[in-house]
Amino acid sequence: MWPKVWHFLSFGAPGVLIYVCFVLAPIVISFWYSLTNYNPFNPPISYVGWENYFLLFQDKEFLTALKVTSILTVIVVVVPNALGLGVALLLDRPGWLYNALRSVFFTPVILSSVVVSIIWSRLLDNEGPLNTFLRFLGVENPPGWLSDPDVALYSLASIVCWQMLGFCVVVYLAGLQGVPQELLEAAQIDGAGPVRRFRAVTWPLLAPSLTINTVVLLISAFKTYDYVKVITNGGPGAGATATIAFNVLATGFDANHVGYASAMAIVMLLIVAVVTAVVLKLLQRREVDL
């Protein structure tokens, strides 16, 4: 047999090496910063132990960001997943119309998130097309989609959902193509209605698609930054839409507190890692059970 070591050195090592240099090493450096009071404009650096972490969990701003990020993540994981499945079922037919619609749904995925942000901030403006339309329908006081602190986060989440929906649609469509027609026909012969057929045959076979969608959505939702920066700048008001990623940069670059920002980043990383690992484990176990 081919020696494993040689296999690793020739096939695995180059990728691992670059990953270590440009991702792992910087994380270690970040972790070191998080144990210091590093402020590039206020040298020297001194070691402060776990102080940044203690401060973090008393910091209202951070706790709010944690809440904002969690709400955003839950919405962004659930909504495009559910709607994406619906749209995929709707479009799972041959023909030019469905082909064209698939491309329509996928287009936002390839747009830059800043482009999406610019489009939507115009669309949701108080005087923008959406509210103009609502007023035309007779709604007297349409919501301040981005200006009402209680609504802004949900508007922001909807924008992310809009961009990610196409991704889920395409993944589910690919999954649907893997569902053997014979199985569905057999179920039909056994007298199963459409709902029953979906639950007994289609849904279990879509398990891998669900896994991919959930993991990708989870990871991108946690990182949400560009939308916040371009649309709301974390507002309206203090922290209404500020995600952790947003606060990391604001603290690190605007306020120069690189040490504190690094602690935030490390905590964020741990949360993402744990949540993703647990979710992945659950979904994969489910795949096996099915």
Partner: protein
């Protein structure tokens, strides 16, 4: 194996090519000999052509200087961008209108000597630890209140408000007529939310105590003190009375300006740079301007002097960088251009703006000149950049505080406490 070899070769070739292919779109470099890099930013007023022409005027006079123009990705983010460049080892030699605070204390900036500053009107503006790092090139009054003369007339408001009560009375009449009294903005441009608050704090607090912010830095005063809370209350009242449209806290700066020019509100408290657009865009109504009203009508005009160039202490060609910065800022044609394009008030001794500026600029400039004569100029809260300025990262918090007061999400006491908490964190 062949495929791998081909691929590898292709990759190497491409990497090699890439090395040669990197081009600068910096509008080329001009001049020769001593090269310096110069960080600019672009706005609707300050276009690439504006900067190229300005650089060329200097290099025509000093052909030995070669200038590489760099452009910050966003106008508002230019200071943050300069920080990122410093941290990644790409600090430019000369930067314009980048806030010197932070860079100066860390020893990254060249401190100008009095002789070099002799042509400037306020050579001692913005001291940082007793030294001067930014050329005090121009003054901006922030915020005078621009108003829509037609809407004022329609609502029966006669005369320009001088006192706070007159301002409230005018706002009440406008509101009764169905007009939004104040146009404000926000979204990614938070400063558009805090303009009125900046005016109130500057006139009410700084008008009595010019050193308020310095004392805040020394912890002698707090945001939770009664006088600061009174200023916050005055601001919150405007929102409570419906003089400010809550829904506009998410509107970006460009759209905010457009809203005022479209007649969607009567008063627009904004920095005097707005005059340039007010004069060129020629809306369907006349625009007037008055000083931000004070409690009792006493003349107090908040302004910020600075806005000029800073030079990296570690510039490779420091003398060329200095020469370029001074020549750029003192060039008469350049000053005229900055007046026309960006509505600036150059703070250069003996300079008068060109005669063909528009009426809004002229009106605003007269207000400022009168204030200088009366010695009534104070710094503008939130816009100061030196030892008497907010701590790094705090301007965003002030904008957020203003938004929380406008939307009514937080009480005045909560906002004051929030500012004190964030201040302690920002240290």
């Amino acid at each position: 194996m062949k495929r791998v070899a081909t691929l590898t070769a292709a990759v190497l070739l491409a990497v090699g090519l890439a090395g040669c292919q990197v081009k600068s779109d910096a509008g080329g470099t001009s001049g020769g000999g001593e090269e310096i890099s110069f960080l600019t930013f672009e706005t609707p007023n300050l276009t690439p052509d504006y900067w190229n022409a300005a650089i060329k005027r200097v290099t025509d006079k000093h052909p030995e200087i070669k200038v590489k123009k760099l452009v910050a990705p966003t106008a508002d983010g230019r200071t943050a961008y300069a920080k990122q460049l410093l941290q990644s080892g790409q600090f430019p030699d000369v930067m314009i209108a980048v806030t010197p605070a932070g860079f100066a204390e860390a020893g990254e900036l060249y401190a100008w000597n009095p002789d070099e500053l002799k042509d400037f009107q306020f050579p001692t503006a913005n001291p940082i630890k007793g030294k001067y790092f930014q050329l005090p090139a121009n003054t901006q009054t922030i915020p005078p209140i621009y108003y829509n003369k037609k809407l004022f007339a329609d609502a029966g408001v006669t005369g320009e408000p001088k006192t706070w009560d007159e301002l409230l009375a005018a706002a009440e009449k406008l509101k009764a007529k169905g007009t939004t009294p104040f146009v404000i903005g926000g979204g990614k441009d938070g400063f558009a939310s805090s303009m009125i608050l900046a005016g109130i704090v500057s006139t009410d607090l700084y008008g009595k105590n010019k050193d308020w912010m310095t004392q805040r830095r020394e912890d002698k005063v707090k945001f939770a003190d009664a006088d600061f809370q009174a200023a916050l209350t005055k601001f919150a009242d405007l929102a409570n009375k419906g003089y400010i449209d809550k829904a506009s806290v998410s509107r970006d700066y460009a759209a905010t300006e457009q809203a005022f020019l479209d007649g969607k509100g009567a008063m627009y408290p904004m920095g005097n740079w707005f005059a340039a657009n007010a004069d060129t865009k020629k809306p369907a109504f006349d625009i007037g301007v008055f000083n931000f009203p004070t409690a009792d009508g006493k003349l107090i005009v908040p302004a910020y002097t600075g806005g000029g160039m800073i030079v990296s202490a570690n510039a490779k060609n420091l003398s060329a960088a200095k020469k370029f910065a001074l020549a750029f800022q003192l060039d008469k044609t350049q000053l005229d251009q900055s007046v026309k394009a960006d509505g600036l008030f150059p703070a250069i001794k003996g300079y008068t703006p060109p005669a063909d500026t528009g009426p809004v600029f002229k009106a605003g400039y007269k207000l400022y000149e009168d204030a200088v004569k009366e010695n009534a100029v104070v710094h503008t809260f939130r816009w100061e950049t030196a030892d008497d300025g907010l701590l790094p990262g705090m301007t965003d918090k002030v904008d957020q505080a203003a938004q929380d007061l406008i939307t009514g999400r937080k009480s005045v006491a909560d906002v004051a406490a929030f500012l004190d908490t964030e201040w302690n964190k920002a240290r």
